[in-house]
């Protein structure tokens, strides 16, 4: 059986050699095989990326249709409420998160779609390109696969060429899909030519970042560092366009994402800003090829930066060490929730209009208020909306709690807990310091999300008191997070092989708490979720009893988890 599968690649190699391939001379020999191999390895991953980008854009189509009235597409007469809406979109916070103000000169759902979504779409396609190129070049090289391939009939530039081709195929496919789908589902104002440009702008950004990754994978010998450098460039490109769009617009011209946005699909439909993008894509890819000839297989152009030869005083304390292991995840979650909160918060100003036609959603949201209280005036509708969003923020923060609380399990199974627990560090302190970071870190993440929601929400709704009310509301969810962490601790102590069950808590909490309202599920289901017992601030009144009880439950779970861990065998390799 294995002989049969082994024989296939060998035959392939023989056939090519017999066909007169010149391994030494042709730097591109084997590119075709590697390219097909890369597409095969990514046959699920790349379509998933493209589909995700499409879904994100389609959600933007719906949002844009709500924001801009269809009537404006027909005549240039802007109705008064649309003028209000376009004023909201003109706010600096909105411009930073969307695109240049010029889109609003032609206030149609299609132009609003371009304004809202090209920036995000560009981030997604850039991310896809970077990860694809890194995976098929440096990641393979780091794992030693490349060495094996390069010893076969594979030219010097074949790996990079195959990786770039795979990324380019994905980029172009994504662009083509946009060009086809947008006219079919698109809001008023969509034109065929505009949709083609919309797709081309995305593909161009993808090509640029494939090129950027082609350079960074030569620089560092490590896939993580190479990917990180390319993503830093992507982040900088987004930040530059944000800064430029809020200001005079000049700085945006330094960013490939800015170029894509300045094609103004459905407004001006101009193609020429894509020229610098293509030029940059070609230049960076060429630079990647040149750099790759200046290094050995497995090495990077940049020498690995030496780290500290010894530990700082803080590192040798259990809590300081745990913080070192958790800090990357913690910072990432804080930044992500700050952004997520800000995204939702920026919608507060338009909540009433957004929900105008969606009676079900409106009813579901106000049902969130206890005792069937329905508040008629706009401010409370915002608060009701905020309460619902706060649940989303809390559930995402609880994902961090579960990940962090299960970190000790990962350390244990990787064999890294064993040498530590053979020192003067007790099991309680080791596990306890990780739990402290899970529960404390989760609370910080929760506050970051509340802060983003509050800052953007108060700016958007013009209510400065919202910041404090939302921070308070976020803190109200903290005991539910602690219970989630407590469940993970209990599993770690008593059923370490079943720790993955801890994910059920946020999953269930989200399903019954968020979707349950829309689906009108019985409220009893919510009683099983720690999130179901939290007073739904800010729309509901504060109730201390459930908060205190949840905190007690969390304390009991944590104590039981610690006790279980103290008495069980450590899992060793």
């Amino acid at each position: 059986m294995s002989a049969v599968t082994d024989a296939a690649p060998r035959d392939e190699g023989l056939r090519r050699r017999e066909a007169g391939g010149t391994p030494g001379g042709n730097a591109l020999a084997g590119t075709g095989v590697l390219f097909r191999f890369a597409l095969r390895r990514d046959r699920l991953r790349l379509p998933a990326w493209v589909l995700a980008a499409l879904l994100v854009t389609l959600s933007g189509v719906r949002k844009a249709a709500d924001l801009a009235p269809d009537a404006a597409a027909l005549g240039h007469q802007v109705p008064p409420e649309a003028a209000d809406m376009s004023e909201t979109l003109r706010g600096p916070a909105m411009l930073a998160m969307t695109g240049p103000e010029h889109y609003l000169t032609h206030f149609t759902p299609a132009s609003v779609l371009s304004m809202l979504m090209i920036g995000y779409g560009a981030l997604l396609v850039g991310l896809m390109s970077v990860l694809t190129v890194v995976r098929h070049t440096r990641a393979d090289e780091e794992r030693g696969i490349a060495e094996l391939l390069r010893s076969g009939v594979v030219g010097r530039h074949a790996t990079l060429s195959a990786a770039l081709a795979a990324a380019a195929v994905a980029d172009v496919a994504l662009g083509a899909l946009f060009a086809l789908v947008l006219p079919a589902v698109g809001p008023a104002g969509v034109t065929g030519g505009g949709a083609l440009l919309y797709g081309a702008a995305h593909a161009a950004v993808g090509l640029v970042f494939a090129g950027v990754a082609a350079v960074t994978v030569q620089l560092s010998a490590h896939a993580r560092a190479a990917g990180g450098m390319a993503l830093a460039v992507l982040g900088a490109a987004y930040a530059l366009r944000a800064a430029g769009d809020v200001g005079s617009g000049t700085v945006s011209w330094l960013s490939p994402i800015g170029w894509a946005q300045r094609t103004y699909p459905f407004v001006d439909d101009r193609w020429w800003p894509l020229l610098p993008a293509l030029a940059l894509a070609l230049a960076t890819a060429a630079a990647g090829y040149v750099l790759s000839t200046r290094r050995d297989v497995g090495a990077g152009v940049l020498a690995a930066r030496p780290g500290r030869p010894g530990a700082s005083a803080a590192l040798a304390r259990p809590l300081g060490f745990a913080l070192r292991l958790h800090r990357g995840l913690l910072a990432g979650f804080c930044a992500a929730l700050l952004l997520l909160g800000a995204m939702y918060g920026s919608l507060f100003g338009g909540v009433d209009d957004m929900l105008k036609d969606l009676d079900d959603v409106r009813e579901a949201i106000t049902r969130g208020a206890p005792d069937g209280r329905r508040r008629g005036e706009g401010g409370s509708l915002v608060e009701a909306f905020a309460s619902t969003i706060m649940l989303v923020v809390a559930v995402v923060a609880s994902l961090h709690v579960v990940m962090a609380a299960l970190r000790p399990r990962a350390e244990e199974t990787a064999g890294r807990a064993e040498p530590l627990l053979a020192t003067g560090l007790s099991r309680t302190r080791w596990f306890g310091s990780h739990l402290a970071l899970a529960l404390g870190g989760g609370t910080v993440v929760l506050l970051a999300g509340s802060l983003g929601l509050g800052l953007a929400g108060s700016a958007s709704a013009g209510d400065s008191g919202l910041v404090w009310r939302l921070l308070g509301a976020g803190l109200g969810y903290a005991p539910a997070l602690w219970v989630t962490g407590g469940v993970a601790a209990l599993l770690f102590g008593w059923a370490p092989r079943a720790t993955a069950l801890a994910w059920a808590v946020p999953a269930y909490g989200f399903a019954v708490g968020y979707l349950g309202k829309l689906l009108d599920l019985p409220g009893r289901l919510n009683d099983l979720s720690p999130f179901g017992h939290v007073p739904q601030l800010p729309s509901a009144d504060m109730r201390w009893t459930p908060v205190v009880l949840l905190t007690l439950v969390a304390a009991v779970l944590v104590a039981a988890g610690l006790a279980g861990f103290r008495r069980r065998d450590l899992d060793t390799k």
Binding site: H222, A304, P306, G307, R308, P309, G310, A311, L315, A316, P318, F321, R324, L325, G328, A414, G415, R416, E418, P419, L420, L421, A422, T423, G424, L425, S426, R567, D569, L570, T572, K573
Partner: protein, 357 residues
């Protein structure tokens, strides 16, 4: 001799284990293991992979809990007093895993300071002797370098007891020599070392006493001189077959009469035997007179020893009968084993010869 080894006053016992049993599901990793290590000695814990060496060490560290049996470590219980004990000992696992984002130097300091402190000068000296770059991140280290990190953290400490679990796996021979030096230095400083290993030559170079473990129990324990069969050399030679025929007998048959020579086998010009270290000179001299054309000598491998000396013993005695009391464990068992072994050798060799030729 018997008196000397049986009188082990509690004050001088660093580590004492008796009747240790540990099962993992259906696997019986330890099956009534006994082990005594005196204070200040370097004790070799020798056995093939999977014999239960690591499980024993992890029980001694309080990382695992024994099903039955008792273990005392520096006068305390390894499970109940784990943290207090850990400040007095240092441990090097056989398969060191490091944190990918921490440098080797950070990992050394982390492990050492959580134990209770590190001697900076000694740390620097060890880093230099082991030729480790402490500024590299954990993810870039090879297996050997990861071992060095744990070794430096342990050896730079002032621990009374070193528990080393196949600590030199992945180290190159040069570093192996450095390691052996450092273990001897530790002994000279009065520390106790339990060195688990499956490499006979390593144990031979540094250990005062050896316990041989197989299938979860100690089958033999004693000093190296008491277990001379461990230090025998196996010699394979090709001689001139036309010389010294003594009335039809094989020219090399005279070797069998020499003291210390075992397992003599001859086939045409080829001679194979093993000889105790003390009698090597006489045997080689005798061989020289036979017109040696080629000579190959090597120490017995652990696998050979296990098969020849302990395979049959275990099979014959079954479980539970080899433990003949705990008061006089070492010498009596050593002697029995040796007698059994000698008897076995004849049988085994005869069998092999008949079977293969």
């Amino acid at each position: 001799m018997t008196a000397a080894t049986t009188v082990t006053a509690p004050a001088t016992t660093a580590l004492s284990v008796s009747g240790l049993v540990k099962t993992f599901g259906a696997t019986r990793a330890l099956d009534g293991l006994d082990l005594q290590v005196a204070t200040g000695e370097v004790h070799g814990f020798l056995g093939p992979n999977g014999a239960g060496k690591s499980t024993t060490l992890r029980i001694l560290l309080g990382l695992l809990r024994a099903d039955t049996g008792t273990a005392r470590l520096l006068g305390a219980d390894p499970w109940d007093d784990a943290v207090a004990l850990h400040r007095r000992l240092a441990y090097v696992p056989g398969d060191v895993e490091l944190w990918p984002g921490l440098t080797g130097g950070e990992a050394i300091d982390l492990l050492a300071r959580l134990r209770g402190g590190i001697d900076a000068a000694r740390r620097a000296e060890l880093v230099e002797r082991f030729d480790l770059d402490p500024t590299k991140k954990g993810r870039t280290y090879s297996k050997g370098n990861r071992q060095k990190v744990a070794l430096i953290a342990a050896l730079a400490s002032d621990a009374e007891l070193l528990l080393l679990d196949e600590p030199t796996a992945g180290l190159d021979p040069l570093m192996e020599v450095v390691f052996q030096d450092l273990v001897l230095q530790a002994r000279n400083e009065g520390r106790t070392v339990l060195l688990s290993s499956h490499i006979l030559s390593q144990v031979e170079k540094v250990c005062d006493r050896v316990s041989i473990v197989r299938l979860g129990r100690v089958v033999q324990s004693g000093t190296l001189s008491e277990m001379r069969h461990l230090t025998r050399t196996t010699i394979e030679a090709e001689i001139d077959p036309t010389r010294h025929r003594e009335g039809g007998a094989h020219p090399a048959s005279g070797l069998a009469r020499l003291p210390g020579v075992h397992d003599l086998r001859t086939e045409g010009a080829r001679v194979r035997f093993s000889v105790d270290g003390a009698h090597l000179e006489a045997a080689v001299r005798h061989l020289g007179d036979l017109g040696v054309r080629s000579l190959n000598s090597h120490p017995p491998t652990l696998e050979e020893l296990m098969l020849r000396h302990y395979g049959d013993e275990l099979a014959a005695t079954g479980h539970g009968t080899t433990t003949d009391g705990t008061t006089t464990p070492d010498v009596s068992r050593t002697d029995t084993a040796r007698t059994d072994a000698s008897a076995d050798l004849g049988r085994t060799d005869a069998g092999t010869e008949g079977g293969s030729r």
